[in-house]
Symmetry: C3
Subunit: 137 residues, 3 copies
């Protein structure tokens, strides 16, 4: 069995941002030499997410509108008693989930034709990390 671990760092300019990371994850897999296995891509923060969907700007707008409807930014969260103002970012992270597992087949990410991996920042403008851990043979 082989394992390879890499940490991707992000410091988004905006509080909320989607970053396509398929190529960076693919590079970790390629360098690992793993032919058959899985790669875990997991945000190491509780106000960020990782998901797989379409690389289409119109859809990005829809995702942001939708997340704002289901987990709105606002002053009313109990969490804000701690001095934080990012209660919505925690709920958004739970909603999109903070991780995906991507299959590795014949040395490459085995994604469908339209599948792209995204890092979703819900409370940015500071350095944050995603772990990429590949495992296989």
């Amino acid at each position: 069995m082989r394992a390879a671990t890499e940490y991707l760092w992000f410091e988004t300019k905006k509080a909320r941002e989607l970053v396509r990371i398929t190529d960076q994850v693919g590079a970790v897999v390629e360098q690992s030499g793993i032919q058959e296995g899985m790669v875990l891509v997991s945000a190491m923060h509780i106000t960020a997410g990782v998901f797989v969907n379409d690389n289409e700007p119109g859809l990005f707008e829809d995702i942001w509108t939708w997340l704002e409807q289901l987990a709105p930014k606002g002053p009313d969260y109990h969490h804000h008693r701690t001095g934080e103002d990012n209660g919505d970012a925690h709920l958004k992270s739970m909603l999109v989930h903070h991780q995906v597992v991507v299959p590795i087949t014949k040395g490459e990410l085995d994604l469908g034709p339209w599948q792209q991996i995204f890092y979703a920042e819900f409370d940015g403008r500071r350095r944050k990390r995603v772990i990429v851990k590949a495992m296989g043979e």
Copy 2:
């Protein structure tokens, strides 16, 4: 380490459909000979999901009603500027998640008594795939 990969194909008659796939995933695990490990079951499309829940028709109705409330079908998505009309299917896919990892113990899927694996089609009537990748020993 052993790995086994299988692609399940679906072409649902309706645009939206739930298909129970526990037995097909179990068959991949059995054929792999893996005794201890994990199997990833992951939709290769961005308008489909994979989830684990109860095999109960009343609940299926509740799930569809609920998904329609939280991510309704409609003409108002920005994504539709591309000519698509399936914006809701993308959001539904994000909501239920597109994958599960099922533990393998003593050569079998290690699921709870009521747990069943489902493929959730949100924009069907064409051929679509799920990857089943088992890993272990």
Copy 3:
């Protein structure tokens, strides 16, 4: 390759409860001797969830309020025709997802500074299980 499997049992006093299980998962990993790999933490029930977020009581209140808004308890679910009254618990389980995969690096859970693993009970007061399956080397 090494694998280790443990089942955590829960019998919560309340119907709904969040239980922090990071230390129990960490203990399984430590006992396994696995240095590099992944550990799957997965509820074996369809009315429970497992998620990673912040260990902050104000946030817990926000999570419960939010789950109740998006998947309310009520008498109107089709699933209740079976005699059950926990339709909401199934939807809550789908919403937060029933599992996480935690990376193992240098023999330890490789979590971010604020990440904690939680078992989320949506229909408790009876014995329920979570499987913890570690895999690696």
